[in-house]
Symmetry: C2
Subunit: 493 residues, 2 copies
């Protein structure tokens, strides 16, 4: 594809509506002009350390105004941000820093020990600390005034069903089209204000940053989700839209009790798997407009969304693909199936990733003629509404985080006293799902406690199996694939 | 640029929101599903006459629901619509049909004699008549399900100020980005309803058709503008947005008298030149939110827009370029000028035409590195707001001073007894050129002396028209632009 040049989004936005509020965080407010000025300053400090256009820079930050502004500053420099999940262990982080060949790691106080561990395994990496950026010498930042929509803006890692996590490439165009498609679906008002309690390191959070500068709307950032605080912020700060996963929504409803959200609140954008009937009915009772979505890192946020008018009649559906996106259901023979028939969900559109970083083979396997094979199962009903049956057969979604059994199994089987291991999901009231593990030990003395301690160093907390079951042998088929159905039977028995 | 495939807009829209109202016209309502079905039928009838993908088809139609649906049907077939201005003479029409090598002319009863004259000079042209389409044999229409954003969708002729009219190529991408940019600026609500009384053969009208299917909103079409009818439709049909030129707005205000437009009306999109202070003040008094715009056929509608909050403080400004567009002011040496300095307005963006049909030389002259030289003069103030001074060719140079007719006309039309005014140059022995004015008075007692006295207070001496001619009506084209050629004829007569 040829060049597709457009003014740098933040520069354009600061020019168009300099005085509108861009970010609210912990009682502070920043206008777009202020965000721009601060981003230019950060960019200059980082440029002074040698960071430059087309570099990959890993980013390990909490939700905050300055984290958002640093992410914008990287766009100003034309740096590709490798956005790290702060729940990962140092060894997981190191792996992603190495895989992306990131020359820089931008982090903050809270993560400095993890950053130091990363630096031990990647000694060449230059660590920049958010709190100290302003003390670095300022160098005139070489601002990229025009971006190419085909250029990579961000990289976010996701694990597949096998092997190591892969870096999903998200271009400026991916983010633009995602934002445009979402606006056409949800509508847009100048006084919109989007509450961001989901992590900026996930596409659910980062896409809110992009919408802010593309739409010219305010985002209210919270470091973390707390139901009472959320309700107060929605009321007092005139929040109109919020992104949630179903556990958050459940907690908001519980906290609300007899209260209601204010009239000005117009959209609860629900990702990370379908909501239960009882949850949706409670929302309806309280006149909370829920938009159920289907999306993934590879589609730069939502690719399909269900409007509230259908939330009960099309219960469990993720709606229809956004205007700029296309969606089909395919059988194993690669043919499109009829309505009602299940198959793999494949998607196409300018919001779909151009591929995986340095993984041409994976890219070619997953993306054919512009169609991305999501690995998810689903069907379309007669009216064209998408029903997602299962995320990639074995994907576990725990509190909105994707958990990949293969990754946990890889860690488990690397333990000297574990011969084999299998991981599946267990229902959980709070998190929706949690991972549990079946262990085939090669030593009699191995305990559950030993394994948990071992995992704590290697896996983010949400990935650590909640329960462990010692069994004689992990059931595998002739091709040595784990028979998760058999494990499920053991669990249910 | 490589392929940029997207689902055909109408097909996608009919799938997403089949039951929403798409078009209202003369008491009839069509949902998107109905519009789609009817468009497929029209497409099949036209395909039966041999019309096929990539053909050029001239279209000569009045504003109506079926005219809109025929224009959509041509998109379904992948036919490039050469949209003719119905106010042209038969010889002007023939010229455009020949220049575009249109093999078809799609027209209706009212224009059948003009169509016959066209056929005399272009005997190969196949004339299809709107009222008879349904009697033609239906052939399974080969629907283009995916369009390429780089493909030409429409051709509209603009008469530059010199030479023959040129066919402006507008791609699907041009229309898409224009619609997206406008939504980001004006906001978007599901219950928006756009009143279209401007001609569908102009980009001001055609762009409303595109917004309807891209946004999923209703458009209410009127065959022609009538102030009383407009006010009633806005009230009774819940119109929220309307496209106007300033003469329409003046008439609406007069007709309103002590009335007001209803609360739900949120945007008066004003094109075709700047409005006078008195007009804007009257709008403010009546709480009519006016968005002043700058745009042209080559930019597929607005390229810059001024929000109502600035309509008085930035009087006469056309605002800032839309999010996806860029705008600069250049001097004759091709350098960007400083704020406040006038120069030629040049624009860039995905809404800008790829060029002129079969006129590579003109295209290369006007578009360089993606920047279109508009030929219009203007300046940007310190805050980046655009002020359009005049069309370059209309520039009057008097004793070395630049004189911009639009500026003088703005002053004249602000006079309480002047309904309209047009200014052109007259040769002058001493000064080279001097401005002279044609006045359409709204009072019998107004004298040339009155006007000169009035101007003396408001204009530098060299800008004051040397002669004034009272005429019945200032000649304007369908887009309400002053026909200075006609004024010139009056002067020379």
């Amino acid at each position: 594809m040829g060049e597709q040049l457009m003014e740098n989004f933040l520069i354009k936005r600061a020019f168009l509506t300099p005085d509108r509020t861009a970010i609210e965080f912990e009682g502070m407010q920043f206008s777009f002009k202020e965000v721009y000025d601060r981003a230019v300053d950060f960019a200059g400090r980082m440029a002074g350390q040698g960071l430059q256009k087309n570099d990959f820079a890993a980013v390990l930050l909490k939700n905050s105004a300055d984290s958002a502004i640093i992410l914008y500053a990287l766009q100003l420099l034309g740096v590709k941000a490798v956005i790290l999940n702060s729940r990962l262990t140092a060894s997981e982080l190191s792996w992603q820093v190495q895989d992306s060949e990131s020359a820089y790691l931008i982090t903050e106080d809270s993560f400095i020990s993890a950053a130091e561990e990363v630096k031990e395994s990647c000694p060449a990496v230059i660590v920049l600390q958010k709190e100290k950026l302003h003390t670095l010498p300022y160098s005139e930042a070489p601002i990229v005034r025009e971006i190419d929509l085909n250029d990579v803006c961000t990289v976010m890692y996701t694990s597949g069903t096998t092997g190591n996590p892969k870096g999903v490439l998200q271009t400026y165009g991916n983010h633009w089209w995602s934002a445009a498609g979402s606006a056409l679906n949800l509508g847009l008002a100048e006084n919109d204000s989007w509450l961001c309690t989901v992590p900026l390191f996930h596409i659910s959070g980062y896409s809110i940053l992009m919408r802010s500068i593309i739409y010219g709307i305010n985002i209210h950032i919270l470091e973390r989700f707390q139901a009472r605080e959320v309700i107060e912020v929605i009321e007092k700060r005139n929040i109109t839209v919020m992104s949630v996963v179903s556990t958050m929504l459940t907690q908001i409803l519980e906290e609300l009790g007899q209260e209601r959200l204010p009239q000005h609140f117009r959209c609860m954008l629900l990702g990370g798997g379908p909501a239960s009937l009882s949850l949706l009915e409670s929302c309806k009772e309280k006149s909370i407009p829920v938009y159920q979505t289907y999306g993934m890192t590879e589609t730069s946020s939502q690719v399909a969304t269900l409007s509230p008018e259908y939330s009960l009649t099309k219960l469990g559906s993720a709606g229809k693909p956004l205007f700029p996106a296309q969606l089909k259901i395919m059988n194993n023979a690669g043919e499109e199936v009829s309505p009602g028939e299940p198959g793999e969900i494949i998607v196409k559109g300018f919001n779909v990733t151009i591929g995986y970083l340095n993984r041409e083979k994976d890219t070619k396997e997953k993306i054919k003629n512009g169609w991305l094979a999501t690995g998810d199962l689903g069907y379309m009903d007669d009216d064209g509404f998408l029903f997602v049956l299962d995320r990639r057969s074995d994907l576990i979604i725990s509190g909105g985080e994707n958990v990949y059994p293969a990754e946990i199994e890889g860690v488990l089987t690397a333990h000297p006293d574990i011969a084999d291991a299998g991981v599946i999901a267990m229902e959980d009231k709070r998190w929706g799902q949690v991972p549990i593990a079946f262990i085939q030990a090669s030593s009699n003395t191995l305990t559950e406690e030993d394994i948990k301690t071992y995992c704590l160093e290697r896996l983010a907390k949400y990935k650590i199996p909640k329960n462990m079951y010692f069994i004689e042998e992990i059931p595998r088929n002739a091709a040595k694939k784990i028979l998760r159905r058999e494990l499920r039977k053991l669990l249910d028995a």
